[in-house]
């Protein structure tokens, strides 16, 4: 009996500690999120579920990139490339019809830009790979978990070539081969064909997944830089975002939208 009481007290104490830690982790990191509930058991190596980003990275008031509160260390060549990317959003925004955003012509947003955009993604464990389905654009990416190496000379891919492993409870993903015609974010932040990205995904509690990445791109950045932490929330059955929708940007629709809305709104015939 004595042991049971002592055990109960220990469990309660642990729950209090972990609940406080969870609350502290969430403090200020998400906007519009429901109040934090006590953490419930979960397998930290199983990221299965539908997740919605919105906290942390992605700040609307950052000076240069949505990924970072500070300016990233652009080289002169990187700065020139950034200046040539004309986005309809962010601190350098131009009217979309006068810009050169690739997705304005229904091109894929690519991996990094998709990760900073606030649309649901679904993570699925599939044996030797972890698959992520992205609602935005109806694309997916595979993270190979079978101890293979990333290719030395990868073909360019909008969603890159990714290999992952577990470092404790953190999923570490190395990605190469990202097609540099994509942007890092909505604001036209560039990356070159030399880019290597190391993502670190950590499931803080059952409902909270955090992402940071370190980007190495000596052509456009004078040194590697690490993103702010981006927070994703697990979407339960009752969430309107629990079910991924078909969000395809068909050129047929995009061209019609440009002709009838985007161009005339900016005075472009």
């Amino acid at each position: 009996m004595h042991n049971r009481v002592a055990g109960s007290i220990a469990v309660l104490a642990l729950m209090t500690v972990f609940s406080s830690a969870a609350l502290a982790q969430r403090g200020g990191g998400t906007r519009g999120a429901a109040p934090a509930a006590p953490s419930v058991p979960h397998d930290p190596h199983d990221l299965t579920g539908v997740w919605l980003g919105g906290g942390g990275g992605g700040g609307n008031r950052n000076p240069v990139t949505q990924w970072l509160r500070q300016a990233p260390p652009l080289t002169a060549e990187g700065k020139a490339k950034m200046d040539s990317n004309k986005s309809g959003k962010g601190p350098r925004a131009v009217m979309p019809a006068l810009g050169n955003d690739p997705i304005g012509d229904a091109n894929p947003p690519g991996l990094m830009r998709t990760l900073v955009y606030n649309r649901p993604l679904q993570i699925i464990n599939a044996g030797d790979q972890i698959v992520t389905l992205f609602e935005w654009g109806h694309f997916w990416r595979s993270i190979w978990m079978d101890a293979r190496k990333v290719p030395d000379d990868p073909d360019p891919r909008w969603y890159g070539y990714s290999v992952g492993h577990w470092d404790g409870d953190t999923l570490v993903v190395d990605t190469v081969g990202l097609d540099p015609r994509g942007w890092l974010d909505e604001w036209g932040t560039p990356f070159s064909e030399e880019t290597k990205v190391e993502e670190r995904w950590h499931r803080v509690d059952r409902d909270t997944l955090e992402l940071t990445f370190t980007l190495t791109d000596p052509k456009y950045y004078s040194k590697p830089w690490t993103s702010d932490t981006r927070t994703f929330r697990l979407q339960g059955k009752n969430s309107p975002d629990h079910e991924l929708l078909e969000v395809i940007f068909a050129p047929l629709d995009e061209q019609e939208f440009n002709r009838r809305v985007r161009n005339p709104a900016a005075g472009v015939k």
């Binding site: 429901a34 955009y117 309107p240 929708l245 709104a265």
Partner: protein
């Protein structure tokens, strides 16, 4: 085109401050809301953004087709809207941000203020995180 007063049914109702980095809206005057009134000619429930087309009267009494850029079907679905929310022939009053160049185009991203045949349309869902569209 002299100004947005070109449209007799456009009523300037006030100024609203939004994020300077707001969405795709830089083609529109994000500091102004106007109300457009007219009859639905087409509702395009499509990506990248849905569009509602209205016939309205200009100051000369001539009919002009006005385009309203709405949010994507995915976002609007989560507000409880559907491809059947508007029908051809519906009488609409819609608050929009007007085009900066005075074109007959406006923007209204959810949550929206709109009446259909005199009845205010409710936005049922309020997503926790609204995409920056």
């Amino acid at each position: 085109m002299k100004s947005t007063l070109f449209f007799v049914f456009l009523v300037l109702i006030g100024a609203v401050s939004l994020f300077a980095h707001h969405g795709t809206g830089i083609s529109y005057d994000q500091d102004a809301w106007i109300t457009v009134k007219g009859t639905v000619t087409e509702f395009a429930w499509k990506n990248p953004h849905s569009q509602l087309y209205l016939d309205i009267k200009d100051e000369k009494g001539e009919t002009v087709n006005y385009a309203i850029e709405l949010n994507s079907p995915g976002v609007m679905t989560r507000y409880g809207w559907s491809r059947r929310t508007f029908k051809v022939g519906d009488m609409i009053e819609f608050q929009v941000h007007p085009s900066r160049v005075g074109a007959p185009v406006g923007e209204a991203l959810c949550p929206c203020k709109v009446k259909i045949n005199g009845i205010e349309l409710k936005s049922e869902e309020q997503p926790a995180q609204q995409p920056q569209q």
